[in-house]
Symmetry: C2
Subunit: 324 residues, 2 copies
């Protein structure tokens, strides 16, 4: 097994080698721009690592990996339109740099390109890879729709939230691993184990994202903390707080949720204090630990060399004990 | 061979049998709504007709036909967002009935569903069907982008316009026919001939749409005429007029293109008169005739029974000599 950067370099090379037609420029330039913004490339790295760990040749999985990364970036592009996000990876989002129509249409083209690229596998793998990819895509749209629905609701349960993040973010990590397993001709048992490992890793990762937004060190987290609190984002923490707060805590939380944004700093401090009084820092750490442990337990059951397993363990540690 | 309504009924039955998950409702209800709005279903009918004409069993082509119709309706859904269209087939568009975000996301889901449905073919047909479908989808996005680009340009050539409508509307008719040919295991020669037949038919059809918007009978055309003129839409007629008008005609055309919309009625009458002075009614009829004739000539070269060929000839006549 190679290290993360080895697979990352393979992916970045493949991304650099994508040939976009020159015209119409407004269709293809936003796709090239989006793919050039970088990122951790976790999903395609997982595809290549899984393929190699399960005895396959990772070079045979490069198109599946690349297509999944393109798909992931398509979802970010359209999500940024829906969320009216101005910045992505420190650069203007596509709908800001161009306009909404360009973002919608180039996103559509990116989805079809992603489908074309994942389809560049041996004929006997085409159907399982394509079915996995399309099923996962549908789950991700469902997750995004639930996320938007939850913004309008005040009665979201923790289970509903976990299901939403599973759909919106975790199943694509599962898909990335399973695609690598399929290319390596792994059996169904191993493919399912690594899929479920990645789904649990994804849940731990997303819950940690919610945690770091409140208790992360801005210097290492890479962005200002408190953004979720400021925006009343329905995270694991806010949903638990809304479900658990009683008496004065409930009244105070309700007031902060409706306060005007000039009280930004005070709101972050006060809501963080409520979270801490409700024990959510510990609850949250425990949930992250539980999902991470499930991922590690599933990994232990997969047939792979000790060397390969250590590489995955290192990746889990890197993703979960991250400070950014 | 059966008649148009026979194939139409098969398609409408298949559309009625699509099972949409109940939740999340805002993701799936807009898809069901869009598919329930009806329409001529020309594309899936072409798939079934071609399959039968080339010796295949049309019931084996129903998923390819259905997926293509779903894809077509996805493009309308997203185009309506981009064009800010309020009405589609006499009903509110999805972004009006729900909102832009619902329209974007349910459109994305519709594209993936379309890909899933066209993929429900025998394993040996999966790659050719999928490649045809994805290649066509990319061409259609290019056509839509050119169409939007042309709105900002005053130097569009007739060739550029023809290429745009070929991409935006004709290749999907070609794809519909070729998909039927592939399911029928037609050889490459026959599949290409029927593809090119449909592309030429599509060009004739689109040029006729431009023609009817000016000279159609509103009672039979089914909508008010003059809409394209009123909106300065860069049709075959306006592009030819901009390229051909000289002297007073050029000055007058320029003035009408910049006039405020309270002069709606006068503008339609005046621009129509300019088109007629420039001989565009005849030029347009001739172009429609030329593309129709090419379609008929290509059809004549396809290996099929006389009965089948007559069914296609009747369809061409129905589509081109239509008054609506």
């Amino acid at each position: 097994m190679q290290n993360y950067n080895h697979y990352l370099n393979l992916i970045n090379e493949a991304i650099g080698n994508i040939k976009y037609p020159e015209q119409p420029a407004q269709l293809y330039a936003p796709i090239a721009y989006t793919m050039s913004l970088g990122g951790k490339r976790i999903r395609p790295v997982l595809t290549l690592m899984t393929c190699e760990a399960m005895g396959g040749d990772p070079s045979h999985a490069i198109n599946a990996a690349l297509g999944i990364e393109l798909f992931h970036n398509f979802t970010l592009l359209h999500d940024d339109v829906m969320d009216r996000a101005l910045v992505r990876r420190g650069k203007p989002t596509v709908h800001v740099k161009w306009n909404d129509n360009v973002a919608i249409l180039s996103g559509d083209a990116m989805l079809t390109m992603a489908t074309q690229i994942v389809s560049r596998v041996d004929d006997d793998l085409l159907r399982p890879i394509l079915d996995l990819f399309n099923t996962t895509a549908m789950e991700i749209y469902e997750g995004q729709q639930w996320d938007m629905d939850f913004e309008q609701r005040s009665d979201v349960t923790v289970d509903e939230y976990i299901n939403m993040i599973r759909l919106k973010t975790s199943v694509l990590l599962g898909c990335a691993c399973k695609a690598g397993a399929i290319v390596a001709h792994a059996d169904e048992r191993n493919a399912s184990l690594i899929y479920n490992m990645a789904v649990n890793l994804g849940l731990a990762f997303q819950l940690q994202d919610d945690y770091l937004d409140v208790w992360g060190d801005p210097a290492t987290f890479g962005k200002e903390t408190g953004g979720d609190i400021s925006n009343n984002k329905k995270t694991f923490l806010l949903i638990n707080a809304m479900n658990r707060a009683t008496g004065d805590d409930a009244t105070e939380l309700e007031q902060w949720l409706n306060i005007d944004e000039s009280f930004h700093e005070q709101k972050i401090a006060a809501v963080t204090a409520i979270y801490e009084r409700l024990g959510l820092k510990e609850l949250s750490r425990q949930a992250i630990e539980d999902y991470s442990q499930r991922a590690i337990n599933l990994l232990a059951q997969v047939d792979m060399s000790d060397d390969a397993r250590q590489a995955f363990q290192a990746l889990i540690a890197k993703l979960i004990n991250r400070e950014k």
